[in-house]
Amino acid sequence: MLTRGTLIYIAQRLALIAFTLVAVSFLVFITVHSLPGSAFESERVHGKALQLLLHEYGLDRPVLVQYWSFLTNAIRGNLGVSFQIRGLPITPLVMRELSVSAELGGTALLITIGLGTTFGVLAALRQNTWVDYTLTSIAVVGYSVPSFVLAGLGVLIFSYWLPTVTNGVISYPAIWTGSYGTLVELSLPAIILGFYTSGQVTRITRAAMLEVLQQDYIRTARAKGLKSRVVTVRHALRNALIPVISILGPLVISIITGSVIIETIFGIPGLGKEFVESITAADYNITVAVFTVYALLIGIANLIVDLLYTVVDPRIRY
């Protein structure tokens, strides 16, 4: 499987990701550093004291010099220090938040794919019946209702209208106690995040399944006398899932976008919440660091998806 060509392809893609990271972080760095005011504005330091503070954090140097030192440090895994919490190293902070976000996002991704493919297959098998109409309507609602609206309704239902059913398990707002939340703490935010993107998966799976079911080899399989369950799962579903893999990349991006909102609403200490907080607090170093980590995640996710493609569909080679 891992031929020479594939390895060269991976190397090329990694080089491209590295180039993208440098370019994106440069543009973001320049942009956030043109924000009016400094991170120390709220501390009411002026004159000499402010100058000393700026000097200590290297903020009195030209922006390009500052970027260069950011870049050289970032390559060694050092993303700099926070301004707000003076001198707090960012790398461990981001790693901890990444683990929280990954847990939330990973669960949401599983929910999205599980829910989406199941709905899509069921809708395709019962095409133009009430099952089909109901499931496709749910899918449309899924990608049209903003996730913060779903979050609000979810909190409303589970903590006000049904507090006795849930026994107050989902509190308002759900408070995250550890870096690794329990399943219960995760459930509502992850379901909301996953439901939002599942609509796209339902749509794609349904269309792909309908197309595959009309193929000749499905007719052949049926004619051989195979059970319909075997035909559906082994012959049809396998081929219908290829288009689903192709939207995994955009799906990861949607989930990252959604997680920024969901984490802020539910107070989950992940990357998204940190991003919003850092930018309102003018803690530039964190903003740039989180942004770069996001760009890296997306680049790698897209690469993995493209490689998965070759595994699922042997006709594709790089």
Partner: protein, 301 residues
């Protein structure tokens, strides 16, 4: 998948079968009319536009004024059809202003995206060479970066305001449009009628906007329609996070955010913007789907 309906009138007089000549627009609208969901969406959006226009001249109360002698969190009543908010302001008036802001941001962003995306895309696709190289590298760098992250950063740099929020959202949204137009220009410029136009001495500008653009219009309209719900959603997100429209102005996102903190006291305040946003986004998506089927039959999903 429904068959593409090509209006054909068969005339047996003289034994010839003549096909009625219809232009892109008439043909498209004819197909759009058959799509019931898109039509319902169009009617809803027309009403919403009318509400937004009415809100310029008249709202039941001043949406920004804290009304004297009015309780906060009043449930819907004859005086306040949708109730009052956390400061005792009339929610119907605020929702009407929110509709206005959503539509301005949606349509305005779409207009910016359309202008920038079409011009850049046409230039890249038609002239190719180093111009195309620079533009493509720039677009590819940002490919896949969530637009909302860029929008948040840019909006804070630009400062608060309705115009700036549109620019901040357009900053990434134009790239998809440019990519689409570039691809269209790439393939259309190889057609024979472009060669004919060039041979007859037409200048680049004339070829670009007189020949290539009209032939790529279908997909461009569809893409521009889909930008509207994305912009409305992004604005609502930003306002929800408290990074959006400045305070006395009411946006559906900010009403929802204030409503969220008031959930235990009054679910209505969260419910109204939630319903309005969901239905509006749904309507734009249905309209976009309908337009795609009508004007761009090859792109059907």
């Amino acid at each position: 998948m429904a068959a593409v309906i090509t209006p054909a009138i068969e005339e047996y007089a003289g034994g010839t079968i003549a096909r009625e000549q219809v232009g892109l627009w008439r043909d498209g609208f004819r197909r759009l009319r058959r799509n019931r969901l898109a039509l319902v969406a169009l009617i809803y959006l027309t009403i919403l536009f009318l509400v937004a226009i009415v809100a310029i001249f008249w709202t039941p109360y001043n949406p920004a004024t804290i009304l004297p002698n009015t309780l906060t969190f009043l449930p819907p009543s004859a005086q306040h059809l949708l109730g009052t908010d956390d400061l005792g302001r009339d929610l119907l008036s605020r929702m009407m202003q929110g509709a206005q802001i959503s539509l301005i941001v949606g349509v305005g962003t779409s207009a910016i995206v359309l202008t920038v995306g079409v011009v850049v895309g046409l230039i890249a696709g038609y002239f190719r060479g180093w111009i195309d190289g620079v533009i493509s590298v720039f677009i590819n760098i940002f490919y896949g970066i969530p637009g909302i992250l860029i929008a948040i950063i840019l909006y804070l740099v630009l400062g608060k305001g309705l115009g700036n929020i549109m620019i901040a959202i357009s900053a990434t949204a134009w790239m998809d449009m440019a990519r689409l137009v570039r691809g269209q220009a790439f393939s259309i410029r190889e057609r024979e009628y472009i060669e004919a136009a060039r041979a007859s001495g037409a200048r680049s500008g004339k070829i670009l906007f007189g020949h290539i653009l009209p032939n790529a219009l279908g997909p461009i309209i569809v893409q521009a329609t889909f930008v509207i719900p994305i912009a409305i959603l992004t604005e609502a997100f930003l306002s929800y996070l408290g990074l959006g429209i400045p305070s006395p102005l009411a946006s559906w996102g900010s009403i929802a955010s204030e409503g969220y903190t008031a959930l235990p006291l009054e679910p209505f305040m969260m419910l109204w913007p939630a319903i309005a946003l969901s239905i509006t986004l749904l309507a734009f998506n249905f309209l976009g789907d309908g337009l795609r089927d009508a004007f761009d039959p090859r792109q059907r999903r």
